[in-house]
Symmetry: C2
Subunit: 272 residues, 2 copies
């Protein structure tokens, strides 16, 4: 039933902690809300061999979609296309459509900057050198085109790392495709903030409620410390229609609420 | 030379985008600053098989340290120890030291809450059931002990997912070990904010400077848009003493500064 997605975040800045991986978080939220299931997120540095290795490993897990972010720009350390080509044993070629996308951008930039001409330098042409068989996706807010590469049942999307560009391309080019892939799948979540009961006391009751509501996943997040306990119970479910997911969550919430009250706890901020 | 580390972040909340992976970011920053090298960060859900699979794959890459976060609590979805035991083909046993750590915490909580007694329920005992051969590490701010598991040249640390607990255990138990492992290795970084030059124009000069400074890694981060260009050039290096790393970075910074000025660009905010 599940449509599986994997995210690969590319960039040394993520591995040295210079940059917080907010791209993966944004994608995870958007993709889950579309009803698809994220299986794994992998962060790897700007290295062709490592990018290719991560891609190959990911492919063996048979996700329907792989989405990469980062590494599409004009500098030497932008190595995502090279990594993809290596993983798929293909080559990089200047793509006519991609080249036209890049050319048009620099034409516009030159005009806006009052420059008479612009050059298509190797660094700029590099952004249009895409893996054989892939299709460029327009970048509405930046320069580097993204790509879409289909191979048998797998589709790989490579998006830029600049958040505004990544988001714009996702909404324009990926959302329609992923929505269609999800079909009627709907993801629904809700949570309950519980106080006055320790997480370790709630544990067996969470088990009980999950047992009684087999399609609802409940995760407890301790928000305070054990002695001033405050626990967020976060409920999620996915199903093929909106009524079902809402019903499932309501039933589980009602059961949890009753247990919490019976055990002398309080619900601070229920949001159904 | 490099001492390699891999981070494994465990938790469904990360895969649905409910939680931003600030733990991995914090760890990456701390570990890099200690002079060690992070090779990969993997995010996986609360599933024993998947946790074990990620661990096994990570082990094949031969890092010196694997640090996991998340999944040590009292609830059913805390599956990290089980995943580690599965990956190492070992078993979970109630550890005497770990049990004493847990018992003492609940004794204190009960006292503070004015309760006369407390029970060591299965959910609480679960936190002291650790993989055979591992050693519990005290949790100065929470309940669940972390663990350290050595096997041949590899050391695995499993830390809790609650940020305050993760950080406290890292500083108390991991920092001394990692510092020693890094030896004299020092990581140094600096950056330069450049305006008036497009990233695609800077690209060949970054190549040039990196060629002339083979131990300095330079990464350009576009901060504005190509037509209102603002680029952060981020320089990093690692060496066995502080004078060397500082020298290397200063030389590369000086060369970059000269190029930027020659090409009509401006440096907005140099921080050396």
């Amino acid at each position: 039933l599940d449509v599986e997605v994997e995210i690969i975040s590319i960039g040394n800045e993520l591995l040295i902690g210079k940059t917080l991986n907010s791209n993966a978080n944004w994608l995870a939220k958007r993709i889950s809300s579309l009803g698809l299931n994220i299986n794994r997120i992998t962060v790897v540095g700007d290295d062709v061999h490592r990018i290719a290795a991560v891609l190959k490993e990911t492919i063996t897990r048979n996700p329907k979609y792989i989405i990469t972010t980062g590494g599409l720009g004009p500098t030497f350390d932008d190595k995502t296309f090279e990594g993809i080509a290596k993983a798929f044993d293909s080559t990089l070629n200047v793509d006519v459509k991609a080249m036209e996308m890049v050319r048009r951008k620099y034409y516009e930039y030159a005009k806006e900057m009052g420059r008479e001409k612009f050059e298509l330098t190797p660094a700029r042409i590099k952004m249009a050198k895409i893996p054989e068989g892939s299709e460029p996706l327009p970048n509405p807010v930046g320069t580097a085109p993204a790509i879409k590469l289909c191979q048998r049942k797998l589709t790989v999307f490579a998006l830029p790392g600049v958040p505004s560009e990544m988001k714009a391309i996702f909404e324009e080019s990926l959302t329609p495709i992923l929505k269609k892939a999800a079909g009627n799948l709907t993801f629904y979540e809700s949570s309950l903030l519980v106080t006055g009961i320790m997480e370790s006391e709630m544990a067996p009751f969470i088990d009980e409620v999950m047992h009684d509501n087999p399609y609802v996943y409940i995760k407890s997040h301790p928000m305070g410390v054990e002695r001033k306990p405050q626990i967020e119970l976060h409920l999620t479910t996915t199903a093929t229609n909106r009524a079902t997911v809402k019903n499932r969550i309501s039933r589980a919430l009602a059961q949890l609420t009753e247990i919490v009250q019976t055990k002398g706890g309080k619900i601070i901020h229920p949001n159904t």
